[in-house]
Every structure is written in C-alpha cells, then in structure tokens.
Symmetry: D2
Subunit: 352 residues, 4 copies
Amino acid sequence: MGQQEKIPVGIVGASGYGGVQLVRLLLDHPLLELVYLGGEGSAGRRYAELYPHFYGSLDLIIEPVDLEVIGDRCQVVFLALPNGLAADMAPTLIHKGCKVLDLSADYRFEDLQTYQLWYGKTREDRELAATAVYGLPEIYRDRIAQSQLVGCAGCYPTASLLALSPLLKQGLIVPETAIIDAKSGTSGGGRQGKINLLLAEADGSLGAYNVGRHRHTPEIEQVCSDLAGHEVLIQFTPHLIPMPRGILATVYATMRDPGLVRDDLLTIYKAFYRSCPWVRILPSGVYPQTKWACGTNLCYIGIEVDERTGRVIVISAIDNLLKGQSGQAVQCLNIMMGWSETLGLPELAFYP
Amino acid sequence: MGQQEKIPVGIVGASGYGGVQLVRLLLDHPLLELVYLGGEGSAGRRYAELYPHFYGSLDLIIEPVDLEVIGDRCQVVFLALPNGLAADMAPTLIHKGCKVLDLSADYRFEDLQTYQLWYGKTREDRELAATAVYGLPEIYRDRIAQSQLVGCAGCYPTASLLALSPLLKQGLIVPETAIIDAKSGTSGGGRQGKINLLLAEADGSLGAYNVGRHRHTPEIEQVCSDLAGHEVLIQFTPHLIPMPRGILATVYATMRDPGLVRDDLLTIYKAFYRSCPWVRILPSGVYPQTKWACGTNLCYIGIEVDERTGRVIVISAIDNLLKGQSGQAVQCLNIMMGWSETLGLPELAFYP
Amino acid sequence: MGQQEKIPVGIVGASGYGGVQLVRLLLDHPLLELVYLGGEGSAGRRYAELYPHFYGSLDLIIEPVDLEVIGDRCQVVFLALPNGLAADMAPTLIHKGCKVLDLSADYRFEDLQTYQLWYGKTREDRELAATAVYGLPEIYRDRIAQSQLVGCAGCYPTASLLALSPLLKQGLIVPETAIIDAKSGTSGGGRQGKINLLLAEADGSLGAYNVGRHRHTPEIEQVCSDLAGHEVLIQFTPHLIPMPRGILATVYATMRDPGLVRDDLLTIYKAFYRSCPWVRILPSGVYPQTKWACGTNLCYIGIEVDERTGRVIVISAIDNLLKGQSGQAVQCLNIMMGWSETLGLPELAFYP
Amino acid sequence: MGQQEKIPVGIVGASGYGGVQLVRLLLDHPLLELVYLGGEGSAGRRYAELYPHFYGSLDLIIEPVDLEVIGDRCQVVFLALPNGLAADMAPTLIHKGCKVLDLSADYRFEDLQTYQLWYGKTREDRELAATAVYGLPEIYRDRIAQSQLVGCAGCYPTASLLALSPLLKQGLIVPETAIIDAKSGTSGGGRQGKINLLLAEADGSLGAYNVGRHRHTPEIEQVCSDLAGHEVLIQFTPHLIPMPRGILATVYATMRDPGLVRDDLLTIYKAFYRSCPWVRILPSGVYPQTKWACGTNLCYIGIEVDERTGRVIVISAIDNLLKGQSGQAVQCLNIMMGWSETLGLPELAFYP
C-alpha cells in the first residue's frame, strides 16, 4: 500500500470543529493527502495559530475559498460549513470532477421541500441534490459506493438511526411509539462564542433545548420512513450535557410482539450489523458510556427489554465529531474509493 | 420569632451526603437546633474532620447511635442511612415521642410487599409502617401535617412526580404512555468509593444504568397510581451525568385530548401548584437547567406540547440532595411543625 | 432589626456575573433593598429573561443608566462594569451623596500613574480617586469604615493578599522571593462569548495565561509594598481551571528565620486574623479545596513549612465571585454602614 | 516492515490505568504483539469485562501472575503495579532474558537509600537495581538504548524535568530557586475508589496535596542534581485538578544572567530538544493547554521571561498516562529495540 499514490484532498471550512477533526484524521490516513485548507475569516493565517497543538506537526496556511483552484488541486473536497453554504459550492466542485462530502444539512434530504421548510433557504441546485446520497454507511453503503456527492448524516441522526434501524427494518416496533431522548456534549454547538456554551454556564448543569422542533427531526424521520416503508413521525428531544464531546441516544419503542426478550434482540442486532465494522453490540446487561466512543469512529449499542411495559430500550453512544460527523465522512469516502471502510480511522478510545 | 425556643434535632447517618446537607440546612434554620450527630464508622470524630469546610463553624463530635439517648435529647430525628436500617430504629424513636423523618426507602411504601420485592428485606414493623406518610409535600401536604413518621420521597421520584402529577390528576394523558428519561449528578451514588463514580471515569461521559429495574420505579408508580385512581406502570430510565448534583427529568406522555396547546398546560400547571412555594412553572418556551436549582429547594418545570405527535413533554429540574432529599425533609418537618414550609430553606442558586 | 428601614440600593452593570451575584446577595440581605438595576445593552428587559432562575423570585426590569435618577433613588450604588467606566460615573454619584462600591479596577490604585500604565485610560477624576479606599476589609477595615467610595479588591489580589499579608506585615519572609501561582475558575472571564472559555475548549484542560503581565500584579504589589514598608515586586501567574468558580492561590516565599515551624505560623496567622470573621485558618496538615468556599464569603487558608528548603507555602481558597468580588463588596458596605460585617452574607457551602 | 516478526509482550498489572493505556498502545504498535495480561484480583476475567470499550476489539483473558510462564512467553514485560511489587518480580524476569520496563518507582533511584527513605521498603535486589536506567529518554536516551531494565520516569517528574533540564544543564538558573507548581488530572490517583477522587468531591474544585513531601520530589532532585553537577533541592507542590488526565507544570527559577530574554531561551530550548520528536517548543507568547497533549506522547513547552523579577517561567504540558507513564514506557522500549522512538505512538490529540 505504501507505493500507492495518495489522493489530494481539500477542506473548506477548516477552522471549525468539524474541520479540525478532518485535519486530524487526514494526517493519519495512509491514502489521503491534505493539500488545501480553506476559510473565509481565517484566510492567510497559519492553521497552527487557530489550533496551537498542531505546531510542529502541520505547516499549512488557510487559503481563501476559490472553487476553481480547489477543483484543480483536489480530487476530494470536504465541505465543513454552516448550513446553506455547501449548496452554493458543490455544483462547481462536482462539475470539475471532485468527489464532495458535505458535513452540513444541505444534501441530506430527498425532498428539498422538507429542507426548505426546516432550514429556510431556497435551493437552485435541485438536479444535483437529487443525485446526493445520505451519508450513513450502515444503511446506505451501496449507494454511497456509487455516489459523487454525499450529504453526511447529522450527529444526532447517526446515533438515533443506528439504534432504531434494526427495529424498523424488521418491523419489530410500533413506529409511532418511538421516542428518542438524546444527550450531546457541547462541541455540537460549534466553535462559536455563545453564552450558553461557556464553561461557566454549561458546566455542572444540564438542560433540554429545541424541544419538539430540532432540525435533526425531519432527517431522522426521512430514514425511519424509508426503513419502515411508510411515513413515520418520531419524538426527538436533544439535551446539552456538561462534557466536550459524545452523544448518547436513549430510544424507547413499544414492541409489536411482547414475547421478544433481550437475547432475541441482541441476536437480531448482531445479524443486522454483521458487516458493519464500526458498530459494536454490547453483551447482555451492558450499556454504553459515551467516553468509550470518544476519539473513535465506533458506535456502541446496548439493548434492554422491559417485560413489564412491553417496550424495548436501545442506547447508543458515539463521538459526535467523529462517527457523528468527520469520522463518518472519511468512512463514506473510504467506501466511495473502494477501500476498506476502516482505513485510517481510530478504533479505540484512550480511556479514562 | 427570635424569642421562640428552638427545637432540638438529631441526625443519624451524618457522614453521608444526605447528612451533610441536613447539617448545613439546620445551621441556618431559625427554629431548629442541631444537638446530635450520629454515625457508626465515624463515631468519636469531630464532624469537621470529615467535612473540613465546617472548621470554624461547627464543633460537634459524631456520637455512637444509642436510640435511648437520641430519643431523650431530640424532639426530631432525621435518619439518613442506607436502605433497611431505618426500619430497625424508627419504632423506638417514635415510641419515645420523636418525630422521625426517614431519608431512605424504608417508609415510602403503602404496600410492604412491594418494598420487600424490590429491596429484599423482610419487615417486622408493619404496624408502624402503616402510619408513615410519603414525604412529597406538593401532593400529600395535609397528611404530612398530621404525621409523626415521614418516609421522604426519593430524588428521582420527586423530580418525576412533580412533572407528572398535574397530568395524571387531571386525567390529561394516557397513563401507560408515560416515559421518564431521568438524568442525575453523581452525588446520588453517595459518599462511597465506587470506581464508576470516580472523576476519572465519570467525567466527560454519560450513560444509562439499571434500565428497566431501578428501585425508584415502584415508588413513582405508587404515587402515579394513587393520582390516576388505578394501577399505572411507568417507564423509568436513570442516567449518570458528569456533574456533582442536580436531576433533570424529561417526561413524555400522549395526551388524551390532542387539541390542548402549551398555554393550556401552563395554566393547568400554575393552578395545580398555586399554593406550592417550591415549584416554579417557567414561561412558554423556557426549559430548566439543573444548575438553576442547585443549592436551593426549588423545582423548576418547563412544558412543551408537540402538536405533530400529540405528546406533552414536561421537564423538571431539582437539586437531588435538597429538594430531592434533605431540603424536602426539612420542608416536611416545617409542615409537621405547623410552620411556613419555606422556613430556613434556600431559595436562589448562586449562578453560575 | 425587623423594624429598621431598609437602605435603597442600585446596581449598574447588572447583567454580568458580578451583577448577578449582587442581585442574589441583596435579595437575602436584611437591611438592604434592591431598587434599581441598570444596564445599557439589556435595558428594558426583565432581569429574569437574562437569568431565568429568577422567574418567580424577582420582577425587576433593567433600566437605562441615568446617573441623576440613580442618585435620587439609591443611597448605595454598586458599579459592576468593565474597567474604565466607573471613573466616568462615580463623581456624579458621590456628588449626589451616594455611597459607591466599584467592582472594577478604577478606584483600586493610590497612584493613578500605575493605573494608566496597566489599564491604558487617562483619568480626569484625580481628586475623587484620592479619596477612594482599597476594598480589602481584612487589611483596611478602618479606612473602609470612613469612606464614601470603595474600589473593591480584585479576585486574584484578594486570595493572594490574604495568604501573604501576615508574612509581610510581620517581616517573616524575604519579600522579593514571593511567588503566587494562582488558579481560577472560568467565570473570572465574565459573561462574554470567548472561544477559550467555551466548555468544549476549557473543560478537561488547564493552562496559564498573561504570564508575567496580568493586570492584577500591580494591585497585589501595591498592598504588599504598603505592608512591607517598601516597594516589593511579586511574581504572579494566573491559570484557567476547568470549573465555573473558585480561586486557589499557592504562595511560596523564603523565610527570614529558617527556624520557624508550621505551628509557629499557624499561631501567627490566627492572631493576625483574630477579628476577621471571613477568614478560616485550617488545622495543621489541612489544605483548602476551592469548593469549600463556593457560594460563601469565606477565605480558607492552609499553611505549610518546608524545612528542607526553608520556604513557607501558604494556600488560600475563595469563591472568586463572592469573597473575590461581590460578597466582599457587600462586606465593605456592611462596614461602611457600621453593621456587622457578616450581615446578610452566606457562610457555608453546599458541599459536594 | 509488515514482514518483520512481532515481538511478544506481556503486561503485569493490566487492570489499572497504566495497564489499560499499555493495552491500547500495544494494539496499535506495528512491531509488538500483546500476548499476556496478568493480574491478581482480576485473574480469570475477560479484559473487556473490566474495560467494556474493548468488547469486539480484544478477547484476552487476564491470567494469574506466574513469572516462569511470563518469562517463557514474553520477550518484553511491562510491570504496571503499585510501588514495591516490581522489585520482587524483575530479578526473575531479567534472569529469564526479558527486557523489563517498570512503571513504578522501584527502579528509578540510583541510591536505594533514597528509595527506602521515601517509600519505606527494604530492598534485596541491590545488584540488579544498579543496572536499571531512569526512563526519561530526552535525558538518558543512550543509556536506555543499552539497558535491559528501565525504571520509567514518574508523571510529575517527566513534566517537571522536561521543563527544567535545559536550564540546569546550561547553568542558566540558580538551582535552589527552582519551584515547581504542578497540576494533575485525577487519573494520577489510579483506578481506586478513593473518596477524594469521586466526581462529586473533585469536580468543580481544586486543591494542593502532599505539600513539601510528595514522593516525586527525590526523583526530580536526582535528575536535577545529575544535570547541575551537584546536589540540588527543589520545591515541588502537586495539585489535583477537576479533569481526568493531563499534567501542567509551572516552573519558576531565578536566572543567573538577567540579560537573557525570551527569544534567547526559545533558541536554547529548541537546540536542547533538537533530536527529540516528542517535545514541542511553542512559539513566543504561546503557553500550553494540557488538552493539546491528551491522547498523545507529546510534551508541549512554553517559555516566558519576566524582566521585572529576573525569573524564567517555563510551562510544560503532558498526558500524565502517556508521556507521563505508558507512552513513555513504549518510547523507551522503541529505543531499547533500536527502532524509531516514535513508532506506534499517537502524535496528535482529538481536540476539543
């Protein structure tokens, strides 16, 4: 493998948390070479000024965003920008022959109406958007392998859908009873100076937000509906947890067959994820801690059946910035390139 | 008030977190005087050796537990012990004329069968147990006022029941759809050297535990059944959050009348808690942070209706060691003594 | 005391962390009544919108800053503003007869040259500034009692000077060997959306900042020089700690007399602070934890002598927002009013 | 390299934090193969039961500690045990031809008198101990390369000595003025259920411990004396910080030549560490954050000169469990084997 030529890769929006994970991952990837870092506000600055732990490891300068230049230099481009910007860049990059992996919500929706309703931006790239694939490899691996443009799954949807998918796909639950109580570290809010994300405010505390109206809801529902074969509404509630990274999704649903026991479900989940190297089904009675997944691309899943209430409770844990964002993007790219989907991605946390 | 003689009070089990909250609260209470601190392992030691922030403020020595002595010296006794010990002490103390407030689970159950099933201890004090009142003043204030023995409500049940009670009492929800996703700081695990409660393990992480079988479940169900007028099963899942104190309960339930909107529920909740000085119903669109309640006896409640799914989502926040334990015990005692139930209890957090 | 009329008090700059502590403290103070909250950016908003834990406890609206109005309504005004603003307001308020307590650096310096050098603002209020007293009651109690205008001590200086003062005053150390290694929670950075204060960045991490050039240095040196009787240079290094509040100062100095042992120093410290209700000298071998002081106006001090090196090591802990800021301001006001200096101030933390 | 046969490696004491870092590192190392995990209390259990994030990645069972068996199966043995146990095992293992890397204090001291004085254990292995090399590669690389037995440097000594060594080696400071104010995450206390290490106690708080008598003092002094060429006493104070991992050492010393400026020192440090891939000297005005080093084997160093006081202040940051313990042990082994000292070790943190 050492002889193989490396693929030149660029990142637009390198200064945020999604960007810095990508930079970190790409420096370790054996077949990718980071050749371009783009940003508007930070153009001209050395990347290590923004993230000083890179001093001595990375000498790149952040460059202005010029799509022609990017398209010429890169075979692959990651877009790590606020929602609404990728839709203005992807068409040019795709036209120039790049593979594009978008970390925002712009290319996640089959129905742009839904996007426009929840994100409030009118879209001109209807044709291109129709070719985009939803970047959740455990569900859409084959389509990702064929695609040029991937709308990488959101962090909450990744944790939620990996917990829910086997249940919906196998018809084991009453879909409308599904409730997702999700908990995220504060890095999900991005590298922005928001008061509620200050350590002084968020540490030692916990709260819900956007109850009943978080934008990840329609994204979760789109995949759930696809798996269930009919339209499904999901209850989704996000909470902010006093920790930098990690997501835990606690998923509740009423089983169609109250006779199923925990071991049945463990068997079903293991079979469903048999070919998925990034999903770990935990043994009976073990539930995941988010820290196990931090710094890795893994999703840990624990399963419980409450025979008293007839519900299944599935608990999934991921690193919101890796499996929930940048790690998953690299996993998608590995698949698009025909490589092993584990290539260059970290598997084990440094615990504690 | 300054002229009124203070009531002598004792604490058995003063070395734990429940004990230290009581000590702190009693030192500020205008009508109570802490005269006895009891403990087995720590007897003979100065209390400030265990909790050095008391140096210069409290000179008491921890004494051995001798029920006769306690009964002679104290008019009121708080029992802050592991489950199963209060049942061996309360009879003697009650017999000696003390008012007893138990912080353990021993006197929370109307049906001792349920207690024995979930706690595994056979009970000999059936008669006395039948006189005990469940110590959740917002629901059972009148009975508490008449009682000699109070089994103070658990931390999770307090947060959960204050969120759920108006819905059940008014028949607004389908009871069996109620799901409580609860999150607690680690002090709930007590002052014991458990590996999973070490900062190195618990910080920066999050997980569920005792899924489908936490002992607070039957306690929640007992009150829910009482309010609903028939037996109710509740889904309850606790999570450990990387913070010292605080509980957030996120409660989901399907409304009987899908036409109810958020403002209707706010009105109903405000009416329900009209005479409850320790409950704050938040304005429309505001959800509580646990830190708001820390160091206070308050319960903050935020309410949301999801019109898409027909569910109500109620979120409550308390300090697990105050309103969830020792503060509530003092509130109960205030009621038993015929005093204002806010007497001597802290109302506002030091934020941030 | 219940009959005594309450003194009307105002806060200018109520929206920051200093402001919110003052609001919290004043609501509990038996002889003060909060009648005015002023702010520029937040004028017209209900205070509880900024800090929702006040819903149900405080109904005040933030008002624009009109010095004439403030002076008419308030007998006492707390200025809780960024450095440089108090100097423009205090003259008018003093002229109108108010007592003024400034929480910024504006009135801390005897020599305005020093202020101008470190803070970069030219001052027009030289005459008034000369009447201001440095608000550290343990050192300047008598002068505070006589003053109309107090420049309350900074947070780091408070912790540092309470640790150092007995040594300097008694001539026990070689002053120029004094090194203060100080550690602060992140609320010291104020309620501003700074990237480095985000939980995602600051949690699980630790670093020094402003090494050799923090603005609290000249303030510390001013008091040290006063106590030593000659000009003293001090080494001061602040660090940011992943916690919301609290300061620990670890102070090192070489003893003049290497024969002094720990117990000698404990005796000297206890004598020095004999009349200081807010200082606790810990027993031999006990060192303070910042959390013991959180939510209180106390300063805990632990003392060690290293006989191998001939150094004394003094460790002090305070709540940076109370004894280090707003609590101390109220303590100063108590003294200015001729009241007990403990009046209305919290003494014991809710631990853990 | 893929063709090279892997070296079989064992870990005795695999259940602690040192052990679990080694397991994690060895799974990624291209030339080492983990073949043995030993422990007393946990023998017979699957390793993933102790650390469930290994489910699906590691199937090893913990075995009893039988030195003959270990010596037969392993070419290299890491001892990750409490102080005092390695001295009873190393002789047999060395005799059987193993390379031994001890993570405890047993083989760190040239003078066993010092060890016995500070650790209170009488030693029978005087001859073997005399052959051990102190495992701090940046100072003793050549001797490590020749050794069979390495006493890996402690966590605090590593951070402290990397900050101090260039100053002492070049005679730039007055050695007896050196003061090390060190701050560590709580994992340094090990995987033991100690009350003061509970999240509920340690979170949101900060304190010093073992002031003037921490056992890492003589270890630091031994190397300082070696570098200075005469016996040196050092002031060392450790603090516990509310975070799982990381150490920051803030080192103060008076310069012999007050004319040296920051840039001079930066040049000297860069030259001193020219051939050290695991040390990063930060640019002028940049001070390290511990989180930059977490999950890596790097030591970041920032340097400041205070021209007012004539002192140099050097600040170093490491991951206490990697560069401060297990990572450094692997680095030492790489050197003993004649490999690149960066082999198989992580270089960049996942930030934030």
